[in-house]
């Protein structure tokens, strides 16, 4: 079937099998491999992308369903070469070790800060509770998101 999906502001049309999952559409069809593919069971959250601004697990969304929605991936976080404050925060506060969970964590952080620009640490922890960091770097991830909240004025609005 033919699907047209809007990803990071650009429309992509591809012929795909209806059973193709969004995570594989992004990685294999569009070669946007920033979205990671992990547990396949909507547990780990490394495949999180934003769908109309809200985080979803792209291993549990069909590419066909994503048609008609705005998808934003980690490749769409930086704008015109300027890092999003969330990306900058992960750099400043050492929010990653191996980096596998990082794209999903950063997109969930972006969605959280868009709704709640000054979250408490508890709210940050709640927001990322559907995502697993197996380096167990949660403390630094929370600090990275905190950093982004405190430097929100640097954000470039898309």
């Amino acid at each position: 079937m033919q699907v047209t999906v809007s990803v990071n502001g650009e429309e992509y049309t591809r012929y795909v099998e209806p059973r193709l999952l969004l995570v594989h559409f992004l990685r294999d069809e569009l070669e946007l491999t920033g979205t990671h593919w992990g547990c396949d069971t909507s547990n780990c959250g490394t495949c999180v992308v934003l769908m109309d601004g809200e985080p979803v697990k792209s291993c549990t969304v069909l590419a066909a369903t994503a048609a008609g929605h705005e998808i934003r991936t980690v490749e769409g976080l930086a704008l015109d070469g300027v890092l999003d404050p969330v990306q900058q925060g992960f750099t400043e506060e050492h929010g990653l070790q191996c980096g596998f969970c990082t794209p999903g964590m950063m997109l969930t952080a972006r969605a959280l800060l868009d709704r709640n620009p000054d979250p408490t640490d508890q709210e940050i922890r709640e927001a990322i509770s559907g995502q697993i960091c197996r380096c167990t770097g949660y403390g630094t991830i929370v600090r990275s998101i905190r950093w982004a909240a405190e430097h929100a004025t640097d954000e470039i609005v898309s």
């Binding site: 069971t41 959250g45 069909l62 927001a127 559907g130």
Partner: protein
């Protein structure tokens, strides 16, 4: 890589269109709501539908939570929830927080915030997983479920809706469209759940609702999750009716609910442990539901 078996895909644009597609495609078609139960089942090949009818486009038509008033000037008589309402909307609803707090109790513990952005109440109820939380919630608060076919509409209670694990009253060519929950004066509700880790399925959970009448319990609803119980714990409900609320009474109700259920020993715990948990959770749910009912009774005066 876990991938569903091949299927043909259709996108419904309205409830009527979804029903037309169901009628045309026959029994090998399945409805896809939020996808967080059906797609995992399809990846494991536990479900292999030939056709998938995607209801994503119905998130507007069937995504709502509203109070319904039967006679003008009187307070709302029920809350109506569209079947495509997502978990997150249920959790964030001020209407539900003020009238049926049990939904917020349960939603806070269903999966995780990202999954709650997609999963729907109708999808969860129709999946009818024995460990699914909203089935017990709906049973305890006397919810009625509106099932539509091409040229018929019927309304059933949870006792009729739930036909056992993964089986519901929704027949071929039909779909669940709405959940209706009655609002009673001086009533309260609560959900208590024990899970092994945040977002996991319940080891056991208890849903309770209590309606007070002149300080005594007019009626109570109790339903359990994940412990092989009947849709409602009727022995415990009958014990409570007409009684003065007390912790001792609630403990006895918890005991009756625990005796009547039949949990299975599995990786989440032994049957004996789960039965114990049911007693404690039923007691706590009744305490919290009653406290909420008392607050509401006071605010009505």
């Amino acid at each position: 890589m876990q991938v569903p078996a091949p299927f043909e895909y259709e996108r419904a644009t309205s409830v009527d269109h979804a029903l037309e597609l169901l009628a045309r495609l026959g029994p090998e078609a399945r409805l896809l709501a939020g996808g967080h139960s059906l797609l995992p089942m399809m990846k494991l090949r536990l479900a292999t539908p030939e056709y998938l009818i995607d209801l994503d486009g119905l998130a507007g038509e069937l995504g709502y939570i509203r109070a319904e008033t039967t006679t003008s000037g009187s307070p709302p008589s029920e809350v109506r929830i569209g079947a495509m309402t997502r978990h997150r909307e249920l959790l964030e609803s001020e209407l539900l927080a003020g009238t049926l707090a049990i939904f917020g109790d349960a939603e806070r513990m269903i999966a995780d915030p990202v999954v709650r952005n997609r999963g729907t109440i109708g999808g969860g109820l129709c999946q009818a997983d024995p460990a699914e939380d909203l089935s017990a919630v709906c049973a305890a608060v006397d919810a009625r479920l509106v099932i539509r076919g091409c040229d018929n509409e019927r309304t059933v209670d949870m006792g009729e809706f739930y036909r056992g694990p993964y089986a519901t009253a929704v027949g071929a060519g039909e779909m669940l469209v709405e959940i209706r929950v009655p609002l009673r004066p001086a009533s309260g509700s609560a959900y208590e759940k024990v899970d092994r880790r945040v977002g996991d399925w319940a080891v056991a959970a208890a849903a309770a609702s209590v309606s007070l009448s002149h300080g005594t319990i007019g009626s109570a609803g109790i339903a359990l999750t994940a412990v092989g119980a009947d849709v409602r714990s009727t022995e415990a409900e009958e014990l409570l009716a007409g009684q003065l609320p007390s912790d001792e009474l609630f403990a006895r109700a918890g005991q009756l609910a625990a005796e009547a259920c039949s949990p299975a020993t599995d990786q989440r715990g032994s049957a004996e442990y789960k039965r114990h948990v049911v007693g404690v959770l039923t007691l706590r749910a009744l305490q919290r539901a009653t406290a909420r009912a008392l607050r509401e009774a006071q605010s009505c005066r």
